[in-house]
């Protein structure tokens, strides 16, 4: 295997986001940016394949200049190269425009056998960009992968579905998106961190990736957000009083009355 491309996204750490109870808005001050957790598993999967096959691991990320931080973290974990896809004209991109932009960047890198993404990003939760990239590059995709096996130039993966697993095989190149169950991520070594600090990160802009300006940013995005609102809070529920036995009695009675159980 020659090159493995890993797509990562920098996201706000939603674990650290809280809600202002008075205004019902998100409090984001001081919320750190992290690599999307599923993308860390994607990188780990790539690094494990690198150890087995000697492939080069190239991480790419689209976003503002501060995404460099996430890319350096990926380099510290063991990625060989990092590419930042960044340009003012990419702003306002939905999943269609994002898929196009990233696929154009990957075409510029060229010569890849495998693309690995996290199954979805925790800020948008769409799970649409991975398949979008695969479509633009005209290669097969396998999403929600929890196990990979690479033997004799063939790929065998397990894909998680609602009622079990699908075992699939494919030739390269292919794009896969991975779940958290695929592996345990490693922590960067001190040596890795030192190396990442001074590593050069390539920046690809719209011109470099030969982007069609009608397909990027806001202009390339068919979807539009028209309204944002906070979900209506539920009416406050009922706290059942008494000791454990009394509470249990009341609860079972209520559920039976309402024919819920």
């Amino acid at each position: 295997m020659k090159n493995i491309i890993v797509c990562i996204k920098q996201v706000p750490d939603t674990e650290k986001v809280s809600i202002n109870k008075e205004t019902n808005t998100l409090i984001r001050e001081g919320v750190p940016s992290i690599i999307n957790p599923f993308d860390e598993n994607a990188l780990e999967a790539a690094l494990q394949l690198k150890e087995k096959t000697g492939a080069r691991v190239i991480v790419v990320s689209m976003g503002p200049p501060q995404v460099e931080e996430a890319l350096r973290q990926a380099l510290a974990m063991g990625a060989d190269e990092a590419v930042l896809i960044s340009d003012r004209v990419f702003a306002g991109a939905d999943t269609l425009a994002t898929s196009y932009t990233i696929s154009q960047a990957i075409t510029q890198i060229g010569n890849f056998d495998l693309i690995i993404c996290g199954k979805q990003a925790i800020d948008g939760d769409t799970a649409q960009v991975g398949p979008g990239i695969a479509e633009y590059l005209d290669i097969p995709q396998i999403t929600f992968v929890e196990e990979v096996e690479y033997v004799d130039n063939k790929f065998k993966v397990k894909r998680v579905v609602e009622d079990g697993l699908e075992v699939l095989s494919t030739e390269l190149p292919v794009l896969i998106s991975v779940t958290k169950d695929i592996n345990e991520i490693r922590y960067p070594s001190l040596k890795g961190k030192m190396k990442a600090k001074s590593a050069k990160i390539e920046v690809f802009n719209a011109e470099y990736i030969k982007a069609d300006e009608t397909k990027i940013g806001l202009n390339g995005s068919p979807t539009k957000v028209t309204k944002i609102f906070t979900p209506t809070a539920k009416d406050s529920g009922e706290i059942l009083c008494g000791d454990a036995k009394e509470c249990a009695e009341k609860l079972v009675k209520k559920l039976k009355q309402e024919k819920l159980i």
Binding site: L96, E162, V167, L168, P222
Partner: protein, 396 residues
């Protein structure tokens, strides 16, 4: 960049900072600054600004697609093992509502090995017409041939709205098909509506871990595509349904569509039901305290015929496999009853379960945020409450 702050007008009131659902605005020396990359150009700040200090460009469309030839609502009626899935019935029912509002027809699309016989069921849930792409190579789902079937169907039928289930199949398929069709797609919607006057399809979905809801439209491209979360829409059988035409589609598959091959399908023999489909979920968190105590959770779940869930804390502590995790980095569920035991209710857990019908919280800490979303709360030690519930259920 399509948006800017007019420095002379901005008074530094922070209204826009609070209004921005994406956290893209910050104050720098009493002046609002928009982070151009985080900004999604949704315009929430423009509306919130009392002094008209934010200016936004109107989107330019390179070439307008002729969208007038697109008409009707289409539903991809998902099948597995030649059986119609529940989500298909839900979407047909919801699709019918939309079609009735817009006074247009509803068509169903069946794809599979031997699925034509399911047309009758599609009619029962409101379809006026059923299209079938049947081929022995389509026995098991893989992305490419199914994408080709969906894309060829859209080219022939030209629906203005296309719905798919937000299942592992629907999300994989819709994402690929939408790009090939060069149209917009909204993921995992929990609410659908129409603006009849504007003939716009309003797609609402949770974002940012369920903390905010976003309504999304696709004004200039067709079909307007959405995946819809299973278990949200109500399935309704049409009492006096009529059988309409059933049309076979001829799909020109290419050899490259079959590069991915299904080697084996492993049905998980689980002691419990699958979480996403379960009507009742009993979930444990940090308060369960040990792997051993999870037996109580499992016992109650088993008794109620439900599934076992867990918070991230319980999974991280290795008391239960990640497979059971509910929440943002786990599964999103929508059960009829969700019993949260010893779960404090961090927002990323709430994101995965708060749309359940009835939420029951059992927690020692009366101030735990889980009680805010609970319909019934018991403040107490789950190690006492659960055994009491189990014996009470058996008695009553």
């Amino acid at each position: 960049m399509g948006i800017r702050i007019i420095a002379g007008k901005c008074v530094g009131c922070k209204q826009c900072v609070n209004a921005c659902p994406f956290g893209a605005i910050s104050m720098v020396e009493k002046l609002a600054v928009i982070d151009e990359f985080t900004c999604k150009l949704c315009g929430a700040c423009v509306e919130a600004c009392k002094v008209n200090a934010i200016e936004m460009d109107v989107k330019k469309v390179a070439e307008k697609q002729d969208i007038t030839q697109y008409q009707g609502v289409a539903v991809y009626a998902e099948t597995r093992n030649n059986e119609l899935q529940e989500v298909a019935k839900e979407l047909l029912s919801e699709g019918k509502k939309i079609a009735d509002q817009l006074k247009i027809s509803l068509v169903a699309l069946l794809i599979g090995e031997d699925v034509k016989y399911l047309s009758e069921e599609c009619f029962k849930y409101g379809a006026d017409k059923v299209y079938v792409a049947q081929d022995k190579r389509l026995k098991n789902y893989t992305t490419s041939p199914y994408t080709r079937a969906v894309v060829d169907f859209v080219k022939e039928v030209k629906p203005e709205i296309l719905l798919l289930g937000a299942t592992t199949m629907g999300r994989d398929l819709a994402a690929r098909a939408a790009v090939r069709l060069q149209t917009g797609l909204t993921a995992d919607c929990t609410e659908l509506g129409v603006d009849v006057a504007a003939r716009a399809f309003l797609q609402t979905r949770p974002a940012f871990g369920g903390n905010i809801m976003a309504t999304i439209v696709c004004p200039d491209h067709r079909p307007q595509m959405a995946t819809v979360r299973p278990h949200v829409m109500k399935k309704v059988e049409v009492a006096d349904f009529k059988k309409g035409p059933v049309i076979d589609l001829k799909i020109n598959y290419e050899p490259k569509d079959f590069k991915v091959q299904v080697v084996e399908i492993i049905k998980e023999v689980k002691e419990q039901l699958n979480l996403a489909e379960a009507d009742i979920i009993v979930a444990g968190g940090r308060g369960v305290q040990s792997a051993d105590n999870f037996k109580l959770i499992k016992e109650l779940a088993h008794l109620l015929g439900g599934a076992v869930g867990a918070s991230r804390a319980a999974v991280d502590a290795d008391w239960i496999p990640h497979f059971h995790q509910v929440g943002q980095t786990g599964k999103t569920v929508q059960s009829k009853i969700y019993i949260a035991c010893g779960i404090s209710g961090a927002i990323q857990h709430l994101a995965g379960m708060q749309s359940s019908d009835i939420i029951i919280a059992i927690n020692k800490d009366a101030d735990a945020p889980i009680f805010k979303v609970a319909d019934y709360g018991i403040v107490g030690d789950l190690l006492e409450v659960l055994p009491a519930l189990i014996s009470e259920y058996k008695v009553q």
